[in-house]
């Protein structure tokens, strides 16, 4: 029987993580994400897991990487200012290919900004916040149900592709309470572990799948992990050829799997003259605005990238030669992707950066303005 429950977004993240098999959480208190930490502090010791409150966000990110290397699924959660601090070791997890999930419940910024108000201002930070060329996956839930389901998917992708996955939420979705139906069956993915004898194990092997198998620390596979550019054995190198191979695999390793990574929702696109593009909390208003416009006979549709990084370009390109309206609670961040694909002349914007939600009426008004 499906179990329907009233849940808060942050709580649904915690429940989703537990369903995915998380056994380690390290974090630091920050509004509006703290409920995730509180829930994990209560639940993890009951199931043999570990919750630890670290001295800062930098240490939290470090601790989950350390735990993950021992084979334990690991989580941390934060908001904008803390997300900035996590960037250092987020880059480390990307370079060393250690699976983990990082939740960012976005609030207004820059700096301390608006701690209790929503924003979608960390879109580019999620993509390029850490230094150097790198791949990343970022998922954006629009409902409490999705908080639960995408947390499970975030862990699955992290484990399968050996990469940190960012769950990019916002204050509204984090604190929203609505009905969640817990799925009867969940697909849970665990990292591929080496079945070779330790002597034959190559921790950063350039194999066909582009995702090397992992080995847990402490189980006989004695290998080296470093944030320095490394060879297939994991040992540091400055050799240009080895560096090139490493960087090619690292930056392209998601490419064979994009069809499974890039999740989207589409509504009324077939005959739409204008496609509204929105994600996270803003997609809720955008969807309502699109419904209102349709009721008035306006040919408009909605494209909702659930995965914003890597941006689902091919899915959107199927709907070329229209007008596009990108609605987001920032000064224009994801819009750059759409302008890159279709050219800036085809793309309109609706932005709000005052900590207030964009309303369906505002979306409707803007649709009428641009069509």
């Amino acid at each position: 029987m499906n179990k329907a429950r009233l849940m808060q977004g942050n709580e649904a993240v915690a429940e989703g993580a537990l369903a995915a098999g998380v056994l380690f959480y390290a974090g630091y208190p920050i509004t509006p994400s703290t409920e995730i930490a509180e829930k994990m502090a209560e639940r993890l010791p009951l199931i043999g897991g570990t919750f630890i409150q670290m001295e800062d966000e930098i240490g939290s990110m470090a601790a989950i990487i350390g735990a993950s290397l021992t084979g334990v699924k690991s989580l941390t959660a934060t908001s904008g200012p803390g997300f900035s601090l996590k960037q250092e070791n987020l880059g480390y997890a990307i370079a060393t290919e250690v699976p983990c999930v990082v939740v960012n419940v976005q609030r207004g910024g820059p700096s301390t900004g608006l701690p209790t108000s929503p924003a979608q201002a960390d879109v580019m930070q999620a993509r390029w916040g850490t230094h150097g060329d790198h791949p990343i996956i970022a998922l954006t839930p629009s409902s409490v149900q999705e908080c639960y389901e995408l947390t499970v998917k975030a862990f699955n992708m992290a484990e399968e592709f050996r990469i940190p996955v960012i769950l990019l939420m916002d204050e509204v979705i984090g604190h929203l309470r609505e009905k969640v139906v817990l799925p009867e069956e969940l697909t849970i993915v665990d990292r591929k572990r080496s079945t070779l004898p330790p002597g034959d194990y190559i921790p950063y092997e350039n194999n066909e799948s582009m995702i090397p198998a992992m080995a847990n620390f402490g189980e006989g596979y004695r290998y080296h992990v470093t944030g320095l550019t490394h060879n297939e054995k994991g040992l540091p190198t400055g050799n240009p050829e080895v560096t090139k191979k490493f960087m090619q695999r690292l930056t392209q390793k998601l490419n064979p799997y994009l069809d499974r990574i890039q999740l989207v929702e589409e509504l009324y696109l077939d005959d739409a003259e204008l496609i509204v593009i929105a994600y996270g909390c803003t997609a809720r208003s955008a969807m309502e605005g699109v419904h209102m416009a349709r009721n008035l006979g306006i040919k408009v549709g909605l494209f909702r990238p659930i995965t914003i990084w890597p941006f689902p370009q091919e899915q959107l390109e199927k709907h070329a030669d229209r007008k596009y309206l990108v609605v987001e609670m920032n000064n224009g961040q994801l819009v750059g992707e759409i302008e890159r694909i279709f050219g800036y002349k085809a793309v309109e914007r609706l932005n709000r950066i005052d900590g207030e939600l964009i309303t369906p009426k505002e979306v409707l008004d803007r649709i009428r303005e641009v069509l």
Partner: protein, 267 residues
């Protein structure tokens, strides 16, 4: 000399990157001799380091090894130990690594009294970047960022760790490397956060700017300025070697396991 400990090295990674006359190699051997004498299972030993000259050590060692980010070795190690308390976790850091950028992590690892064996290799300088002043550079000594002498005063890393809650602290030098082996063993045997300060020499980035003509002069300085418990320091530069403090306190992973048990039993 090396053959007795060669099994603990990834010999294909040698030679190491350390400069001639550097003390880190001597200190590495002293640490490895402690692990050999303790007869630890190589598969269960984890070496964690930060960034800097001394933090390159784990790459040469045949354990589970992780070279992390600058200053962050302790929180990485905390994650490993908290997730798998049965593992033997050693943390090697430099003086800048552990007391400047990683100072806050040092304080809190000590406060938690988590069962890590931390070794701070103190060569009084940022060596890898070419000799900048560190929080442990002595007052008035020269570095490239204190060309007229260091205006700041260093702190004593063991005193900081003790004040923060560490349960074992000791000091030795590259010169007193047999003592260092014994102290690392004692540190490992302490259930809680243990810290060993290993004073080292950096002839290239520190010694030549501070009137040490040869690496041997620096080793002699270590010999002449060290004193043991019960002896009196002769001057301002003198420092105590051996065990500095040891005490009992609840260890973090034990406490967490007790919590799990209590919850399982419904108490």
């Amino acid at each position: 000399m090396f053959n007795d400990i060669a099994q603990y090295f990834r010999t294909e990674t040698l030679p190491h990157i350390w400069c001639p006359g550097c003390g880190i190699g001597t200190i590495t051997a002293a640490i490895i001799r402690a692990i050999k004498t303790l007869q630890l299972d190589q598969n269960k030993v984890i070496f964690v380091s930060g960034i800097g000259c001394s933090s390159r050590m784990p790459g040469y060692l045949d354990f589970n090894t992780i070279h992390t980010t600058h200053g962050r070795a302790l929180p990485f190690a905390t994650g490993i130990k908290a997730a798998r308390p049965e593992l033997d976790v050693f943390v090697v850091m430099g003086d800048g690594d552990s007391t400047a950028i990683g100072g806050n992590h040092l304080i809190h690892a000590a406060r938690r009294n988590i069962d890590l064996t931390a070794i701070v290799i103190n060569n009084s300088i940022y060596g890898m970047t070419g000799g900048q002043t560190s929080p442990l550079t002595p007052h008035e000594k020269r570095g490239t960022t204190s060309p007229f002498g260091n205006l700041e005063r260093p702190f004593q890393v063991l005193e900081v760790a003790k004040a923060a809650g560490a349960t074992y602290g000791a000091r030795a030098t590259a010169y007193h490397n047999q003592l260092l082996t014994k102290l690392v063993m004692d540190a490992y045997n302490n259930s809680g956060f243990s810290i060993v300060e290993a004073i080292s020499q950096c002839p290239v980035s520190y010694g030549r700017r501070n009137k040490f003509k040869t690496p041997a002069d620096m080793l002699l300085w270590q010999k002449e300025h060290a004193f043991k418990a019960g002896q009196q320091p002769g001057g301002e530069e003198d420092f105590q070697i051996g065990e500095i403090f040891k005490r009992q306190a609840p260890e973090y992973t034990h406490e967490y396991e007790r919590l799990r048990q209590r919850l399982r039993e419904g108490r």
